[in-house]
């Protein structure tokens, strides 16, 4: 199971890097979404996988009776997903606004902030 998830993470990162190398900013954002999911899977896998054992404590006991899944990585992933969602919503709106303002999403042509000045006077 760990191997499968590790390979999945590898594939996701590979695809994400490919997308992020594109000149189109929209593709870059898609790459970011993929790689952030890969990061979430890394946390999840690194926290050890314990299938079929939810971290539940029986009534009246102080601690789980048997070996159960680690709940902390899941909490971390959940937090990361929520934060990531907010950031990507922002990034998408920003890209939309950039297209409306600058009229292009080709990163080579987005030179308003850093114009190609040539020789300084």
């Amino acid at each position: 199971m760990e191997t499968l998830l590790a390979v999945t993470v590898g594939i996701l990162i590979g695809a994400a890097v490919y997308l992020m190398l594109a000149r189109n900013v929209m593709r870059f954002i898609f790459g970011l979404v993929l790689i952030s999911n890969a990061a979430n899977l890394i946390i999840f896998t690194a926290g050890r996988l314990t299938p079929g054992a939810p971290p539940l404590i029986p009534e009246g006991a102080d601690a789980p009776a048997d070996v159960v899944a680690n709940a902390l990585p899941q909490a971390l992933v959940l937090t990361a997903i929520v934060i990531g969602f907010g950031l990507f919503a922002f990034a998408l709106v920003l890209v939309f606004r950039a297209y409306a303002t600058l009229g292009t999403l080709e990163s080579d042509r987005m030179r308003v902030a850093e114009p190609d000045e040539g020789a300084a006077p």
Binding site: I29, A38, A46, G47, P73, F90, A91, P121
Partner: protein, 499 residues
């Protein structure tokens, strides 16, 4: 005790909420000033406590470390919070004149105070995942501030800033996951002990490099700095000033914290890389600045260059070098924020930001010229200003570590910094304005002029004080560096006495 640690985070958050509610009226800007003044009081209290009692820690929510989230302050955290409060106060005063009503309505003051809260949180947290959360708080507030107003340059710079910072965030998150997988803890003090028990130390170095790259992007070191000069010259001047002063320094702080507390297992490898990074950062930054003509772009490249000196202090990893790094951090935040504030006044009265197209400031606005000279010469390292002592300690540490080449580079970069500052001086201040304008400070309405000059004058005074009486500051930095090199007190404060 815990309220002293929580206050520097709670005060700006509360200010942000109030300022947001009051964004329709002039009350918002005064709330921001009052909130930052309150933060300064809280920071002084915190600093005093840490100075007298050593490292203090508090467990949030009553969960004992390493299970709960810990807030912890040693001298480095304390001084960073204090300098954040000083910068926050200066910039919020400056914003009284700089930020127009439209930007206030869009929520400038709320975002600004959330940013300050995020910065303070990052300095105070003792938990790695919590550090990630504070980075995100800081990031989202900075995104908002950066594009507030929505000029095309801002959107363009914003895209580069947002995307590259998100990549760094994701690397940071992956690093956290891998480190947790190896050690089973995220509490930084607990990690400091747990990393010794990791079987595969080589793998630990790999994770250390992930963190180095993630924080390297935030700190804008070579070769990861490109987002900074693309974005920092586009937003409002108050925004650039607080970014320039604080944001990259959070990255530097995180590097210092991680590579003294946790990743000190293979300093021969990691700190050698940092040493080269520092050298290239210093040189590319200063060369980049030499090619620029926009006031703020020159200053932006100098942020990169100066970051190199701080990383150099960390990379040498001797007591004196860390003293230099801490001293440099404090000096740099004050000076750099101030230079951006001055750039704002210069643009207001000369009507431009390209130094070749403005001029005449020395003749018709001599006060501004004096106020510029202080941080500019401090940045370049002229005695007796604060930058001289900062550079002196770092270079001396490099010589003592027999790093002749790196010491030479640091000195040469200092010399080239003078070149850039002289360029701004000769073009913007000394030569006559090409349009024949006489830029005067009185061109600005009094209600704008007074707060802006007050903020600049305050920070300049601080620079002069650090320069003229460096002794207490150096002693302070010595104690802070000693704490960094011997994290026993830090670990004991967080985890309780090692029984």
């Amino acid at each position: 005790m815990s309220w002293i640690l929580a206050l520097p985070i709670a005060v700006p958050f509360a200010t942000a909420v109030l300022a947001f509610l009051a964004r329709h009226s002039a009350a918002g800007r005064w709330l921001s000033v009052a909130g930052n003044a309150a933060l300064l009081v809280a920071a002084v209290l915190l600093m005093g406590t840490v100075w007298n009692e050593g490292v203090i820690a508090a467990q949030m929510g009553g969960w004992p470390a390493p299970f709960g989230i810990t807030l912890v302050a040693d001298l480095l955290s304390g001084v960073m919070v204090l300098i954040t409060a000083i910068t926050g106060l200066a910039v919020s005063v400056y914003a009284l004149g700089d930020i127009n009503e439209r930007k206030e309505y869009l929520g400038y003051h709320a975002l600004f105070n959330v940013l300050i809260a995020g910065v303070c949180g990052a300095f105070l947290t003792g938990d790695l995942f919590n550090l990630y959360v504070w980075f995100e708080v800081m990031l989202i507030a900075s995104f908002g501030l950066l594009i507030l107003g929505g000029k095309p340059e801002q959107i363009d710079g914003g895209i580069k800033y947002v995307t590259l910072n998100l990549v760094s965030t994701i690397l940071f998150l992956s690093g956290i996951g891998l480190l947790y997988g190896m050690t089973g803890t995220l509490n930084m003090a607990d990690l400091a002990q747990a990393v010794d028990g990791v079987e595969n130390q080589g793998l630990l170095t790999v994770v250390a490099m992930t963190f180095m790259i993630a924080f390297g992007v935030k700190a804008a070191v070579f070769p990861l700095f490109f987002w900074l000069p693309a974005a920092y010259h586009t937003p409002a001047f108050s925004v650039s000033a607080v970014f320039a002063g604080l944001l990259t320094k959070v990255g530097v702080y995180a590097l210092i914290r991680m590579f003294t507390l946790i990743f000190d297992h293979d300093t021969g490898f990691t700190h050698t890389i940092l040493l080269w990074v520092a050298a290239f950062t210093m040189v590319t930054g200063v060369l980049g600045a030499a090619a620029q003509s926009d006031f703020r772009k020159i200053l932006s490249f100098h942020i990169v260059s100066q970051i190199g000196y701080m990383i150099l202090g960390l990379a040498l990893y001797t007591p004196m070098a860390l003293v230099g790094a801490v001293f440099y951090l404090v000096h740099h935040i004050v000076v750099k924020a101030n230079l951006f504030l001055i750039a704002g006044v210069s643009q207001r009265i000369t009507g431009g930001s390209d130094v070749y197209r403005i001029g005449g400031l020395y003749k018709s606005a001599p006060l501004l010229a004096v106020l510029f000279i202080i941080p500019a010469f401090s940045l370049a390292g002229f005695p007796p200003l604060s930058g001289f002592w900062a550079k002196y300690i770092i270079v001396k540490a490099a010589l003592e570590a027999q790093g002749w080449l790196i010491a030479g580079i640091a000195l040469a970069v200092g010399l080239m910094t003078i070149y850039s500052m002289t360029k701004i001086w000769a073009e913007a201040f000394w030569k006559a304005h090409p349009d024949g304008r006489q830029p005067r400070l009185t061109d600005m309405p009094q209600a704008h002029r007074r707060p802006m000059l007050l903020a600049i004058g305050g920070l300049a005074t601080l620079t002069v004080i650090i320069g003229l009486v460096p002794e207490p500051f150096v002693q302070f930095a010595e104690r802070a560096a000693a704490q960094l090199l011997d994290p026993a007190a830090y670990v004991a404060a967080v985890l309780g006495d090692p029984g």
